[in-house]
Amino acid sequence: MSRAGAHRSGVPGARRPRADETVPGELVVEARDLALRFGGVTSLDGVSLRQRRGEILAVIGPNGAGKTSLFNCLTGAYRPQQGSVTFWPQADRPTELVGRRPHAITRLGVARTFQNIRLFPALSALENVQIGTEVRQRYGPVGAILGLPHARRAERDGVRQALSLLDLVGLSHRTHELAASLPYGEQRRLEIARALGTGPSLLLLDEPAAGTNPAEKRDLAGLITRIAGTGVSVLLIEHDMRLVMSVATSVVVLNFGRVIAHGTPGEVQRDPAVIEAYLGVADDTGGDADGADVPAGPGAATRKDVR
Amino acid sequence: MRRRPLLGAIALAAAVTLTAAACGSDSDGGSSADGKKTITIGFQGVLSGDNQQLGLNALYGVRTAIAEVNADTSSPFQLKLVESDDGGSPDQGPTAAQKLIDDSKVVAVVGPMFSGATKASEPAYTQAGLLSVSPSATNPALTTLGFKTFYRVIAPDTVQGKAAADYVATVLQAKKVYSLDDKSEYGTGLSGALEPELKAKGVDVTHDGINPTKDYTSEATKIIAAAPDVLYYSGYYAELALLSKALKDKHFLGKIASGDGSLDPQYVAQAGAAAAEGTYLTCPCGDANTDPKAASFVASFKKVNKGAKPGTYSGEAYDATLALADVFKKLGTDVSRESVAGAFGSVNFQGITKTVAFEPSGEVKGSNVFVYQVKNGAIAVLGNTADLIKS
């Protein structure tokens, strides 16, 4: 991981989250005071954050700082013991997310990718994205079996949308290939396409650049910017500081399950607390809350990584 | 993955085994070498599953009868047997019956054995005009369902139920009876026939049902708590044996009684002589093992069936087969499905369990119900209920 910039000493920046400066109507998501504990391990300890609509917000922090836990709370994979998450699918419709099941949250408009890619490996690229595009479709088994007109129409729409999304992430040439057979970088992009298929207004990307080469990283930065350009807010976990600096409009820094800084990329880079966190963590290689980065599914223990 | 070749070989071996097994047992000799006419009869019964032993009892009885007929030099024909397994279940019944119907040589069938399989199979027999003589299906309704070619050499539950009730109330002088059935078709049929008869005689009846199990511990406690004079178990010997053991362990003071399903030497063997001692068994049949008249049957049964002893339904199956042979003899050269089905109703044959003769409905005539008791570790006949009640 790159910590470029974090070494540079700088002017003491704003240490308090500055989200309170935003006008509420502009928010897309607001988390208040989230706390998440596993047995004796605290992985989130009163985390609050706000994201404006259309913004690309990056969450950074050392390993085990609670970034993925935060994602899991936002998407319903974990239920925090404390705190709330409000999401505005539209500006005038605040919706509480805590307590909803992940698929319901996705349908509200919060989509995500996983740190360790979780595609449907034996399905084709197209089918992977189709599953995303079809979440809002209504037709049921009877429609499917009888081939009723509305079902066929929905089916065609789903395919068309999926194809255009594959085009957006540059995977048109892989349409009918198995997800598992794609190279790593392309799997990352396919996962993004699948998430976009659900029609999100907030997209959560968990280390999208992990394991990709520099050229792919550049492409990825372009892709993220393009996505934000279509009006989708992006919440991004990333270790690659160059990527964060190039795309993020603001940055939140987590350490030990707390927000230690919040601001523009430049401000955060100069924040002494951030610098200390990164330097301090270099010594004890951040093993404070391990396991918290992986959603605790039945497969979590052995499915360390897809590759 | 690594050991696929080895495991592949095992698969192949299994396949070969299957084929070898399939070919291996194909060779049962059709022996009609001495110029005699061969008449084929079928057997449909429960040859697999939990009740397989009952099926084997009957099948061995049929085989014994056939061996006797074939060994008899004066017999004008040889008998040949085709077996068909229905697993005792209604699903398999029609297929098993159809197999015998398809075999155009089969002129009569001994079976089906269980009432459920009978209900499922008889429509096909009726349609084919093929005679079927059940050695063991006791459901009273069977002769009222319009099965035209159905006969049975065993009395329906109602006959046994009534006689057993008479005996229990009059001879055993029970004031309180605990009637327990095994929730099988047979068991519920028998207890259903017994209980009204008992109540009609003013006996206090407690009913309970328990699916066949091995653990009768708490059931024994329940029975003892009810303190009946007689426990009447409607079910088979395997369960009665366990129940008797459990009751003995808990020092049950009443008498144990049961029906024809328990009239089997295995009952004593499995319960142990001590636990089985004194048990009364009713049966609308003469028991081959205890009846001196049938000594020769027991001997030839053992000879034919590698030492196996006759059990529940062996005698009935034997009688049914010999009754068929009797009809064949009378028919002479004209042995066909039609002629056999037509002639069987008027058969009158002295069997070892009873005189085989039928009412027009297909019900066996004037069945006597006998009572047996386990004495000194063996089942001994006490006599006909009618006689026992009179005396």
């Binding site: 319901a104 034996a122 049921g140 079996i145 929905a154 052995t302 | 993955m1 690594r2 040859l47 209604p90």
Partner: protein
């Protein structure tokens, strides 16, 4: 499968055709096999290079090879015991002793040795076999692989299904209805649960019972003590049973589908037993063990068509063919719809599916309900065809349907139907060939062997085969039961 690299006892030990034939095969299949069998000799020849060692006894008799022989001989002895005489408890080991002392043991041991030799020479043989069978398999494979191509193959199969009963005995026809037809239908329904949603339902036959008893309730005043105040034609019961069974599926599934996969199996097993026991015990409602006699046969009197089904199995067979084909087409469409894709997603990665907006619980419940409704539908057919009692709904029947689905190939519609044909055909064939009670020994063996060698089934669906392959490589999953119990082998 690759060549055991040890033996090259072919003509003169030439690396030529044999080697050439096996190398491409290796790429298509699995990682090189028999590492265990002859690891020492493996390195030299495994690359398919020219310098293979010739046939040599030392290579032949490596410990691994000898162990292989030992295992095969054991299997041979076991086979002799399985096919040998039946014993009894007075002399518990007598039957086994007799089987081993019998001359047939020579046959089995001979077979074992022969097999071992074949294995040692396996690669060449396999290569040759593939070459011989390739021309036969290729067109079928190609035909089935192409989109639209399967139509021809399916039509051929359909033609066979139509003609087949005409050339067999009536007993076989009877079996084709009771055993094959009904079980094919049941298997198609269970396939939705097991094959599509990746769940295990061990109480599936309970819904069959619900269908059958529903039929008895509505169509006859005499079959059960408890009956409807009116009488319906069994045809009208089809939709009722469909809905009732689906409803039962939802009622059972809604609280239980949250459970871990193998718990679900146990709960459904318990449910199946409860239904079975209640049917058997409730004398005043279902007529208990005496069963329901007198459900009328199907009949049509509509639009000038007046037909009555009867004892003759053939009309039922053709009705079943129509229904089975209809269900196959319907489920094919379902599989290719968003619903089918959601199920695939759930199987392969439930967490990701949930995160992609798939309502996993609801989709599982849907699979459960659809499977149940097919079972209920089959129950109506069964009840109208013939007498039934609670014995027909035993746990063994549930296990058997599962076996049919797995054997045929989970997730493959054609596969499960073929599974029913083969397994029930085997049962029908064996009924006269081996002691009837021994049939299940062979059944058990076939199932275990199938799981070891061909977990994807006889006619696997392509998607399922890929999933199993990938799952075995540690990518994704192939069912919804959670992680494989490998004890951390990966």
């Amino acid at each position: 499968m690759s060549a055991p690299p040890a033996g090259q006892p072919g003509p003169g030990g030439q690396p030529g055709p044999g080697g050439a034939a096996t190398v491409p095969l290796r790429t298509s299949g699995n990682p090189p096999g028999s590492v265990d069998a002859s690891g020492s000799a493996g390195s030299s020849g495994s690359a398919g290079g020219p310098a293979r060692p010739g046939w040599h006894p030392a290579v032949l008799f490596t410990p691994a090879r000898l162990r292989q022989l030992g295992v095969l001989l054991l299997v041979g002895v076991l086979a002799a015991i399985v096919t040998g005489p039946t014993g009894n408890s007075d002399k518990p080991l007598q039957a086994a002793k007799d089987s081993i002392a019998d001359v047939r043991i020579v046959l089995y041991l001979g077979l074992a040795v022969a097999l071992w030799v074949v294995l040692v020479l396996g690669a060449e043989l396999r290569g040759a076999l593939e070459r011989v069978s390739a021309p036969v398999r290729a067109p079928i494979g190609a035909a089935y692989g192409r989109r639209g191509g399967p139509i021809v193959l399916n039509l051929v199969l359909l033609a066979i299904a139509i003609v087949a009963p005409l050339v067999v005995s009536t007993a076989a026809q009877q079996s084709m209805v009771n055993d094959i037809g009904i079980y094919a239908l049941l298997a198609l329904g269970l396939n939705v649960v097991v094959g599509y949603a990746g769940l295990l339902d061990l109480g599936y036959i309970a819904f069959f019972a619900i269908g059958a008893y529903t039929t008895a309730y509505f169509t006859s005043q005499t079959a059960m003590p408890w009956h409807a105040p009116f009488v319906l034609n069994p045809f009208f019961v089809f939709p009722i049973a469909l809905v009732l069974a689906a409803l039962a599926g939802v009622i059972l599934g809604a609280p239980t589908l949250r459970l871990r996969g193998d718990y679900l199996a146990i709960v459904t097993l318990g449910f199946g037993e409860i239904i079975h026991l209640v049917a058997n015990n409730a004398d005043n409602i279902t007529n208990g063990a005496r069963g329901a006699f007198g459900v009328p046969h199907l009949s049509i009197d509509l639009l000038g068509i007046d037909y009555k089904w009867g004892i003759d199995p053939l009309p039922y067979y053709y009705l079943l063919v129509v229904i089975v084909v209809g269900v196959m087409i319907a489920f094919g469409r379902l599989e290719r719809s968003r619903i089918g894709r959601s199920w695939a997603a759930i199987r392969e990665d439930e967490i990701a599916a949930e995160a992609t907006g798939v309502a996993t619980l609801r989709m599982k419940l849907l699979a459960f309900a659809i499977g149940a409704s097919v079972s209920g539908f089959a129950g109506v057919l069964f009840a109208s065809k013939q007498f039934f009692n609670p014995q027909s709904f035993s746990l063994q029947a549930s296990f058997f349907v599962v076996a049919v689905v797995i054997f045929g190939g989970m997730g493959s519609r054609l596969g499960v139907v073929v599974g029913a044909v083969v397994l029930q055909g085997l049962a029908f064939y064996l009924r006269d060939k081996v002691p009837p009670a021994d049939r299940y020994i062979y059944f058990g063996a076939v199932i275990v062997i199938m799981m070891i060698f061909r977990p994807q089934g006889l006619v696997p669906s392509r998607r399922r085969r890929r999933e199993i392959q990938l799952a075995e490589e540690g990518i994704g999953a192939a069912d919804s039961l959670g992680v494989a119990p490998t004890g951390g082998q990966q």
